[in-house]
Amino acid sequence: MSVCDEISNVFKDKVKCFTDKFGEVWIETRIDSLKDILKYLNEKLRFDHLSTITGYDTGKEIAIIYHLLRFGKGRAEEVNIRVYTNRDNPSVPSITEIYPSALIYEREVYDLLGVKFEGHPNLKRILLPEDVPEGFHPLRKDFKL
């Protein structure tokens, strides 16, 4: 059974799952069920490797993607979970309890896009200097070079 089916069986209409033409599995969901899905993927389906967290600005919303990997015999399986959050006050639950490596990735997304991760133990700027003014998030589309 593919990952898509398993996730769709458990989370029903909370998720939209599809495979793109390059063979990547994409799961689109809403913020409120994000943590449950990640927990399920980590504990039940053994997706124990978080490659990174990508954030990008679409102009209307901010998208956050969690890139996960599962290793086993043969080819590793990839799953990417995407959530959208609003642009004015972006906030997503922190997943540091599930994936400790997210400590650094979440700080990076916060730094460059200004997304607040609720529940992160130490959410402050990581790449830019500390004295940068509030609201300076270079990867936002309205930030012009």
Partner: protein, 401 residues
């Protein structure tokens, strides 16, 4: 007495600069906190202002040591975006460059770790051997470092007969030298004293902290993008993954030395099986507009899994280029590794994950109780650690038993 010890604000690499604050009790590190970003150059934003083809050279400059891995990973992702398949010969040449880069990077790292533990003789030997690899790279690509050989839809240069001959020599030479280094590392007392049992990272922790690359493989985690998500010509190439269950710095040294032998084998295999003729590039105009797409590209860089996420919006310029470098993924595990070790062991542990060189330029020791500050340069820290080891050698060894 709790002492705070920040390390290294002046810094080397894009996202892999490390400034750690170590909390020490006496000689023992109890906690650490990273502070990075001294080399943040805004590459991800700059990439949105350059065309797809100009970004090849920008991505190469993310890291000077694993430049080909970065450029190849970007090109691989961009090929998905453009929906173009590179010709077979191009993949062979690309893989050859990736493996050459692994050779030179591991030799470089071997020198650096030996320098950190105060064994400069071997540093000189490894860097001497590394020149052979760089000469070969210069012959193939036209530059010693920063090969710029990849392009979207293939590679830019064909490989000459002279280069094939030289590559064969280099592969044989490196195999021989790697075997020699392995013997040295396993018998030399200086090395064993300083690396055995240092920087312990158990298999469960390595998996839990999402460690990548040789650091993970030295903890017994069989993960290698080359085999898990095959790219280039690795799917056909017969090679084995090196795994060691030592979990310490010594294991990381051994894994990297054996990987050099494997790399040399892959190079020889490539030279034998590479198609002699054929095109090396799908011709694309540098102003081509790709369709709207998003792609993920993963490459096993010398330091571990390299990750690129690319998104196009139908114009000449990419919408988003996300880069996750391997050292960035390994920082969390460094914090875990240094806990419970002596200050003198910090240099080999931090160098153990291969954080792109001189990561610890300066050390400031802050005594929290007395509010005193003591500034140590990296050199001084090294000297201090070597001196400390000479003094305490006997009981440290006793304790480890």
């Amino acid at each position: 007495m709790a002492v705070k010890l920040p390390i290294g604000p002046i810094h080397p690499m894009l996202k892999e600069p490390m400034n750690f604050t170590f909390y020490v009790e006496g000689e023992v590190v109890v906690d650490a906190e990273p502070n990075i970003g001294f080399v943040h150059r805004g590459i991800e934003k700059l990439a949105e202002k350059k065309t797809w083809f100009q970004n090849l050279y920008l991505c190469e400059k993310v890291c000077g040591i694993c430049s080909s891995a970065h450029q190849g990973c970007y090109a691989q992702g961009a090929e998905k975006i453009f929906e173009k398949e590179p010709p077979e010969k191009a993949l062979y040449i690309r893989t050859l460059m990736w493996e050459l880069e692994r050779l030179h990077s591991h030799l470089l790292w071997l020198g650096v770790i030996m320098h950190e533990i105060g064994f400069d003789t071997m540093f000189m030997y490894t860097w001497k051997d590394r020149e052979r690899v760089l000469d070969l790279a210069e012959l193939i690509s036209g530059r010693r470092v920063g090969y710029s050989i990849n392009t979207i839809g293939g590679v830019r240069r064909d490989i000459s007969h002279e280069a094939i001959k030289m590559a064969m020599d280099v592969a044989n030479y490196i195999t021989e030298r790697a075997k020699f280094y392995e013997r040295v590392v396993l018998t030399e007392r200086t090395i064993l004293d300083r690396t055995q049992g240092i920087g312990y990272l158990s298999k469960t922790d390595a998996i839990r902290l999402n460690t990548v690359g040789p650091t993970a493989r030295a903890s017994g985690v069989r993960r290698d993008v080359r085999q898990d998500i095959p790219y280039g010509v690795y799917e056909e190439s017969p090679f084995s993954i090196v795994v060691d269950t030592g979990c310490d710095v010594l294991a990381r040294i051994i894994v990297r030395i054996r990987e050099m032998i494997i790399s040399a084998e892959i190079i020889k295999w490539i030279l034998f099986t590479m198609p002699k003729t054929g095109s090396i590039q799908v011709k694309l105009s540098p102003f081509t507009k790709p369709p709207e797409n998003e792609a993920i590209s993963r490459v096993e860089a010398p330091r571990g899994e390299l990750f690129y996420y690319l998104k196009s919006n139908g114009s000449q310029y990419p919408e988003r280029v996300k880069i996750r470098t391997p050292t960035f993924a390994n920082i969390v595990s460094v914090i875990h590794m240094v806990k419970g070790h002596y200050i003198a062991d910090i240099p080999p542990i931090v160098a153990g994950i291969d954080p792109c060189l001189s990561c610890m330029d300066r050390v400031i020791i802050v005594d929290v109780n007395k509010e005193e500050k003591k500034v140590l340069s990296h050199q001084e820290l090294r000297r201090y650690s070597i001196k400390w080891y000479k003094k305490n050698r006997a009981w440290v060894r006793e304790e480890r038993r």
